[in-house]
């Protein structure tokens, strides 16, 4: 097939855009593996020392971030799925207003929500200094990202009729929720969980305000290392972050694809 000049023009444009976005990431990765960034890779050679240094200094932030992300996903699911169900069932002016209200923490600067939390619960010493304080912030921030896709799926699935069918076969309200509503919304739930985990792992604004020296998450640690250590250390941190999050997201996506195969038809 003969390519037109237009095709090559478009290809060039796409490649340029890709390069514009990817080169900074690659530069950062490279910096994390370079012995001395200011001398350049060629002059100073490559090393894994910086990775090692980051791991010894910041390993606990990585574990905390993972713990937070999964706890957040769990909480948001437990709160969000029944909430989405209730909103779909009600479907009146109040429920639509509530749905808008729920998105507010996303639009609001994270600093402002964090400040509100600090003003309200800052005096509760034990709670303030535990990682659960950050968890609350993450749950508030990520809730709409689960509720929205779950509501969309619920509205598509003709749930009221399926529920009537289940009721005619003897299932009470609770039984119907777990045997009909939840399984038939799982595509939305999985999409939401994936989003929540991703957002929670990378969340900085809120977390930075809410953290204590003992409860530093990965992004907060990253900021810390940029501010206080060498550029190479911070870049090595980015390498570790990517090594962690990319396989995790791929795995979650695979699981979600596998489980929601039946729902798309």
């Amino acid at each position: 097939m003969k390519r037109t000049p237009l095709f090559y023009g478009q290809l060039l444009f796409v490649l340029l855009v890709c390069a514009f976005m990817l080169v900074p990431v690659l530069m950062s990765l490279l910096a994390g593996l370079t012995r001395n960034y200011f001398q350049g890779v060629m002059a100073s050679g490559m090393t894994l020392d910086w990775l090692n240094q980051v791991w010894t200094a910041y390993a606990d932030t990585i574990w905390l971030s993972l713990r937070l992300a999964f706890a957040c996903a769990l909480c948001v699911t437990v709160i969000g799925v029944p909430a989405a169900y209730a909103l779909v069932r009600m479907n009146n002016r109040f429920s639509r207003a509530f749905e808008e209200l729920m998105v507010l923490p996303v639009a609001m600067p994270g600093l402002a929500s964090a400040l509100a939390l600090l003003l309200t619960y800052g005096q509760l010493g034990g709670f303030r200094s535990s990682w659960l304080f950050i968890l609350v912030g993450h749950v508030i921030f990520t809730l709409p990202f689960l509720v929205r896709p779950v509501m969309a799926v619920m509205q598509r699935q003709h749930l009221p009729i399926l529920e009537e069918a289940a009721a005619s076969l003897g299932a009470g309200p609770l039984r119907r929720f777990f045997s009909v509503v939840v399984p038939n919304s799982r595509a939305g739930i999985l999409a939401g969980v994936l989003m929540v985990v991703t957002l929670s792992l990378g969340e900085f604004n809120l977390t930075w305000m809410l953290h204590t020296p003992m409860t530093k998450t990965l992004p907060v640690g990253l900021a810390d290392s940029y501010a206080s250590a060498r550029l190479e250390v911070a870049s090595a941190y980015t390498v570790i972050f990517l090594l962690l999050i990319v396989p995790l997201l791929i795995a979650l996506q695979a699981v979600s694809n596998h489980l929601s195969r039946g729902d798309r038809r």
Binding site: A167, G170, G172, S179
Partner: protein, 349 residues
């Protein structure tokens, strides 16, 4: 399985927006009978079914299953089997999972569930399809799964909401006779809603015709057809010609287009006649008009004859007529096929 009688006493239902769905309905459904509820959309037939099911509560009145008052019971505690219009099969479960759902809710042991499931698959002719996903089934197969699922827990009453409406004509015919055999075999009390008069006549032991939230007539299919209680029923079940009477004449009644034989002393406002009871006359007929259209329909031909009235007269005759569209045509009617009706409601031609 012996059937449970169902009784509605003064059931009234008004929806939140003020629409009256049901004006105080009294209804007795005999044990083991199949009752067809027939009517145009919005006549209250679906509301009646949902009241029996327990998906709606009546504003006043009672619903009884046998001696038990079930008015306050929600559907999940009424022990009914229901087949929904679009089947409402659970997409997250396979065929066997759908059929066994009701048994699982009732805590039936796994081995017995499987046995009952196999029995039902056999009954509805889907023997080897237990492991199929719902998405892989045809419309007719879905309908059968819905029926098997409703029957699996051995309900007291089977309720069907337009069970065949979503199928194409040929399949509908076949499933109709299958359903008929199955209901006779089980002897379960069954109520089904339909807007298709053929379906109601074929399946129902009795037919309840509803009109604007009230009972128009409750009788056997034959009686509904032959002795309709009102012009509405007559027009809804089959086609009907209406002849407004102009005046009395020496040997009958004068109507638009001619004179119809009528010997009783009464003087009706309108005379009615079914299309299949009118004949094309070879000599002098009772009515004279012009052939407007002619449709060949296989077993019979339908003629539309203009006799000067608002609507053309419908005539069904066994053999294709030799007349051409536009020809003058004479029609005759036998006195025993002409009847009058108590109501003066509008009749569909």
């Amino acid at each position: 399985m012996t059937g449970t009688p169902i009784r509605l006493e003064g059931c009234r239902k008004t929806f939140a927006n003020g629409t009256v769905a049901l004006h105080s309905l009294d209804l007795d459904i005999r044990p083991g009978e199949t009752l067809a509820i027939l009517g145009p959309s919005g006549c209250g037939k679906t509301t009646t079914l949902r009241l029996i099911a327990g998906l709606e509560r009546p504003d006043s009145g009672r619903v009884l299953f046998g001696e038990q008052d079930v008015t306050a019971l929600p559907i999940e505690r009424r022990d009914v089997g229901m087949v929904f219009q679009n089947y409402a099969l659970f997409p997250n479960l396979d065929v066997a999972g759908n059929i066994a759902y009701g048994l699982k809710i009732r805590g039936v042991a796994k081995a017995r569930r499987q046995a009952r499931c196999a029995e039902l698959l056999e009954l509805v002719g889907l023997k080897d399809l237990g492991r199929r996903s719902i998405h892989e089934l045809s419309g007719g197969q879905r309908q059968r799964v819905a029926l098997a699922r409703a029957l699996a827990p051995q309900p007291r009453v089977l309720l069907l909401d337009e069970p065949l409406a979503a199928l194409d004509a040929q399949l509908r015919e076949r499933l109709r006779s299958e359903l008929d055999q199955l209901l006779r075999h089980l002897g379960i009390t069954a109520v089904f809603v339909t807007h298709d008069q053929g379906e109601a006549m074929a399946l129902g032991h009795r037919i309840l015709v509803m009109e604007q939230g009230s009972m128009a007539q409750l009788a056997s299919p034959q009686a509904i057809y032959q002795q309709p209680a009102s012009a509405f029923v007559a027009g809804f079940v089959g086609n009907l010609n209406a002849f407004p009477v102009l005046e009395r004449s020496p040997c009958g009644l004068k109507v638009m287009g001619g004179e119809l034989p009528w010997s009783t002393g009464e003087f009706p406002d309108i005379l009615y006649c079914r299309p299949e009871h009118l004949r094309v006359a070879t000599g002098n007929g009772h009515l004279h008009g012009r052939l407007v259209a002619q449709f060949f329909q296989g077993a019979h031909s339908r003629l539309l004859v203009d006799i000067g009235a608002q609507q053309p007269v419908l005539v069904d005759c066994a053999e294709a007529s030799l007349c051409q569209v536009g020809d003058a045509i004479a029609l005759s009617a036998s006195p025993r096929h002409l009847f009058q009706l108590p109501s003066f409601g509008e009749v569909r031609p």
